[in-house]
């Protein structure tokens, strides 16, 4: 035995640098070039922002109202993207938080006459946070990690049950929901649908987008990347996997709540569908279509799906849902990473979390 060890040491000291790279520098360089090369994401983000900023200048009033609705739905899509695209939690009931907040603020406005932006938006956000904490706590915080299918069915059931509950509850207006919600106000100013509401919603979308961007590029974002790639592995590093999931789920619920309250006041009424499976599925489609795991993908998905449905329903009154369905299928079959993957490479989509920035900082001075 001792001899064997000595022999080992001897061979080790003889051979200083062992060639271990099966992939020589030639094979590695494209990856490196891609990492060091042009970033596509900021360009796409910038373009989308510019288009969104100048859009109302070219739109008729009724189209501005439509565009505002799309902006709010894009905000809602962000919430699902965070939960599914970044943390790998299959939430099929995201509308539960969207609709609960919508109903909550509608009741505040109807029964208590509270319409101040400074009260209703925080209230809606809080409702989203609370419901998602409750549901997330129940679905995700068990002794053992919950399976994807358990979470998917749990959230789906939650959303469906809420829809049924709202339909049968007289206080919530039953099938008809709550109509004629007064507009949000700031002092004596009423925020009604139109360009002002559009820019207001766009501002909120931009702020939430930047916050999400900050979050997913932080070290927390790295933990999320580990979570969605290999949950068991990172548990063995000492990550509290269930806690991570519950936190992201709650953040997603919070954003959905904010979107729901904006939506309720923009439309001027809430109805049971807003809680239900249809909207929950719709938001899944936005994100899959645009590209999950990229924030801008969620926004683009919402904009394109809503835009195309709008145009199709205008021009092909009878068959537009079929055309839309086929279109969605094609993208999901041939571009599983969504439309964004036409311009965005895998490496940039996943991103880097530590080194690149550090080196950039060092190189700057």
């Amino acid at each position: 035995m001792g001899a064997a060890k000595q022999a080992l040491r001897a061979t080790l000291s003889e051979g200083p640098e062992v060639s271990m790279a099966d992939n020589g520098p030639d094979q590695a360089s494209p990856v490196r070039q891609a990492a060091a090369g042009l970033k596509v994401l900021p360009i796409v983000e910038g373009l989308v922002l510019i288009v969104a900023l100048i859009l109302p200048l070219f739109l008729q009033d009724y189209l501005t109202v439509f565009a505002t609705r799309v902006i709010i739905l894009a905000l809602f899509a962000l919430s699902f993207d965070l939960v599914w695209g970044y943390a790998g939690i299959m939430s099929f009931g995201q509308a539960l938080f969207f609709g609960s907040a919508g109903y909550g603020v509608a009741l505040l406005a109807r029964d208590l006459n509270i319409t101040s932006i400074l009260l209703v938006l925080p209230a809606g956000t809080l409702i989203g946070l609370t419901t998602s904490l409750l549901l997330g706590g129940f679905l995700l915080l068990g002794r053992h990690p919950s399976s994807v299918i358990f979470v998917a069915l749990g959230t789906l059931t939650g959303s469906y049950a809420a829809d049924r509950l709202a339909r049968g509850w007289y206080y919530l207006g039953g099938q008809n929901g709550i109509p004629s919600i007064p507009p949000m106000s700031l002092g004596s100013y009423d925020l009604t649908e139109g360009p002002v509401y559009y820019y207001f919603a766009l501002g909120i979308l931009a702020i939430v987008y930047l916050l999400c961007r900050f979050l997913v590029r932080s070290q927390f974002g790295l933990a999320l990347a580990g979570l969605r790639e290999n949950e068991q592995r990172i548990a063995f590093f000492g990550y509290k996997v269930q806690h991570l999931k519950a936190i992201v789920f709650a953040v997603g619920g919070t954003i959905a709540g904010l979107a729901g309250s904006l939506y309720a006041f923009h439309e001027g009424f809430v109805w049971p569908n807003m809680l239900g499976v249809v909207i929950s599925t719709q938001v899944v489609l936005y994100v899959l279509f645009g590209g999950s795991g990229t924030l801008i993908g969620a926004v683009i998905g919402a904009v394109i799906i809503e835009g195309v449905s709008f145009w199709l329903s205008d021009n092909y009154r009878e068959i537009w849902p079929i055309i839309l369905g086929v279109l969605l299928l094609l993208v999901i079959l041939f571009r599983p990473l969504g439309l964004i993957s036409f311009v965005l490479g895998e490496r940039e989509r996943v991103g880097s979390f530590g080194a690149a920035r550090k080196e950039k900082r060092n190189a700057a001075p």
């Binding site: 990856v31 070290q219 063995f236 590093f237 530590g354």
Partner: protein, 244 residues
């Protein structure tokens, strides 16, 4: 008190008894090999120690603490680290981020959200990468590495959190002879601060780097002792070490 002491471990899967009173004792700074024929329960014992499987009976204590009922996360936080048999580096992340992910596991939520430990951990990440000769590929995706290099990256990740005990399940599986030799070389320095349990088929490899061995057969301990003692043990010799 030894660092790790697993006593009378039993594990039953349905009708199959994988472990029947197996035991494992590992001291500080000791490299301990776990050997035995296929189906002898090596990997199962390893999993029971790591918390990937819960034993049906028996007790596992680690650093003077009963950890039998603790989850893998809690064991990791107590200073135990596991390298899986199947390579499970995160292929889409860069090597750098793979190591950072392992290192930051114990950072608080606040530190993670505001990336407060990113700067502090940088030197440590680069040190781990150079220790395993991967520094020049820090910014490549882990998927671009060769199989052997992925195994090294995985060992580096398992070591990143400065564990007291590292469990390696077949670290040289699928490696070339040369890569095996280098793996042995890479593991030697960690003895200063860490004990090691290795499950491995390559007996030469085990003999070269381990201090003590435990031989399992049909879920029980056949023999346990220093490498010399095990080599001298007639039963073991006949069955396992003849070819070596």
């Amino acid at each position: 008190m030894p660092l790790l002491e697993a006593t009378d471990i039993g594990k039953v899967f349905g009708k199959l008894t994988a472990l029947d009173g197996a035991a494992l004792t590992v001291g500080d700074n000791e490299f301990h090999g776990l050997i035995g024929p296929n189906g002898s329960g090596k990997s199962t014992l390893m999993k029971c120690v790591a918390g990937a499987e819960m034993p049906t009976r028996g007790k596992v204590s680690f650093v003077n603490r009963d950890i039998t009922a603790l989850s893998p996360t809690e064991r990791a936080r107590a200073g135990m680290s596991l390298k899986f048999q199947i390579t499970s580096v995160l292929p889409t992340l860069t090597l750098y981020d793979n190591i950072l992910l392992a290192l930051q596991a114990q950072s608080s939520l606040f530190d993670l959200v505001f990336s407060r430990t990113r700067g502090v951990l940088h030197d440590h990440v680069m040190m781990m990468l150079s220790q395993f000769r991967l520094a020049d590929r820090a910014h490549d995706a882990a998927a671009a590495l060769s199989h052997g290099q992925q195994q090294w990256l995985e060992i580096a990740m398992a070591l990143a959190g400065k564990p007291r005990l590292l469990l390696l399940d077949e670290p040289t599986g699928g490696m070339s002879l040369e890569e095996r030799r280098v793996t042995g070389e890479l593991l030697q320095p960690i003895k200063q601060h860490c004990s090691l349990v290795i499950v491995e088929h390559d007996l030469d490899f085990i003999r070269d780097i381990c201090d003590r061995l435990t031989v399992l057969d049909q879920g029980r301990v056949l023999a346990s002792g220093t490498v010399a003692e095990i080599q001298a043990n007639r039963n073991v010799q006949e069955i396992y070490l003849r070819r070596a």
